[in-house]
């Protein structure tokens, strides 16, 4: 799939909001989950000490 230019890629044929809104939120969810897990582990280790 040849997008031609970065602009075309970001615009996603006019559906950019929906496509990147989906991928963006998914990325945020994944990052948040991992951060929360890291914090939980740190707290657990701290509380054992």
């Amino acid at each position: 799939m040849n997008w031609g230019s970065l602009d075309n890629f970001l615009a996603m044929g006019g559906y950019g909001l929906y496509v990147w809104g989906s991928y963006g939120v998914t990325l945020v969810v994944v990052v948040v989950e991992l951060i929360l897990l890291a914090r939980r582990k740190r707290n657990a280790v701290e509380s054992i000490r």
Binding site: M1, G13, G14, S22
Partner: protein, 247 residues
């Protein structure tokens, strides 16, 4: 050759294994998602009917699939915990729920964003989306019940019971919602009627399913480690680990 099935059934032995597995599956997840996204955005063509908006499918379907799969996994660990009275099974069930709930949320969010350009509304009472919504409530119920119970063993068993009751009901809920949807459906097209998928689209989607699956395994294992540290804080191995862990 005899296999010691119970070697890793104690938190002490499973903890380090979980850590290694989480790293492996995490790496596999990144790799699979990279390949899947490349295929999805640079190989798969534009869809004739939906244009570029269909590319949400590479997240929506894997997330929905994982949300249902993880619920079954959670119920499996719940059943094992009730049957064998093993602590670790309860911990695994509790570790699975939040990741499952997050996948359900992603499925709902992407479903909504996919539906808006396709059918004009932010929410469609499509059978699958509605069932996903109820699945989210089932996950919340499990997590809320466990959060409300202080005693970890009672929390494990109570959660296990509601998870099992839930998993039995999921097919019933799905079929009743499907029936409800067909009865009340207007002229709208259902989300279940997916676009005729080119082979490249299907491949990309399948690779993404694997990517999500590996990520799910890694996240659940990481959370299981946290739970093990929290619940076994008095044991020697946990104290030892805390001492050696880099702050």
């Amino acid at each position: 050759m005899s296999i010691n099935w119970f070697k890793y059934s104690s938190p002490q032995t499973f903890f380090p294994l979980a850590g290694k597995l989480a790293l492996v599956f995490g790496a596999l997840a990144v790799a699979a998602c990279a390949v899947g996204l490349y295929l999805g955005f640079f190989v798969a063509p534009t869809d004739a009917q939906q244009g570029e908006s269909y590319r949400i499918i590479f997240i929506h379907v894997p997330a929905a699939w994982m949300s249902m799969f993880l619920y079954v996994v959670m119920a499996f660990w719940a059943a094992i915990g009730l049957a064998f009275n093993t602590r670790l099974s309860g911990m695994m069930a509790s570790a699975t729920a939040p990741t499952g709930a997050l996948f359900t949320f992603i499925a709902l969010w992407t479903g909504s964003l996919w539906g808006k350009p396709a059918w004009g509304t932010w929410w469609v009472w499509d059978a699958r989306l509605t069932s996903e919504l109820i699945l989210l409530f089932l996950y919340f119920g499990f997590m809320a019940l466990q959060a409300a119970i202080d005693d970890p063993r009672r929390a494990d068993k109570a959660g296990a019971l509601i998870a099992l009751v839930g998993v039995i009901n999921v097919p019933i809920i799905y079929f009743s919602v499907k029936w409800w949807n067909t009865l009340h459906q207007g002229a709208s097209v259902s989300l279940t009627k997916s676009p005729t998928m080119a082979a490249t689209m299907l491949t990309a989607m399948l690779v993404m399913i694997f990517g999500f699956w590996f990520y799910g395994i890694a996240a659940v294992l990481l959370r299981a480690r946290c739970i093990m540290l929290e619940r076994e804080r008095g044991t020697e191995w946990a104290v030892q680990y805390a001492k050696e862990a880099v702050a």
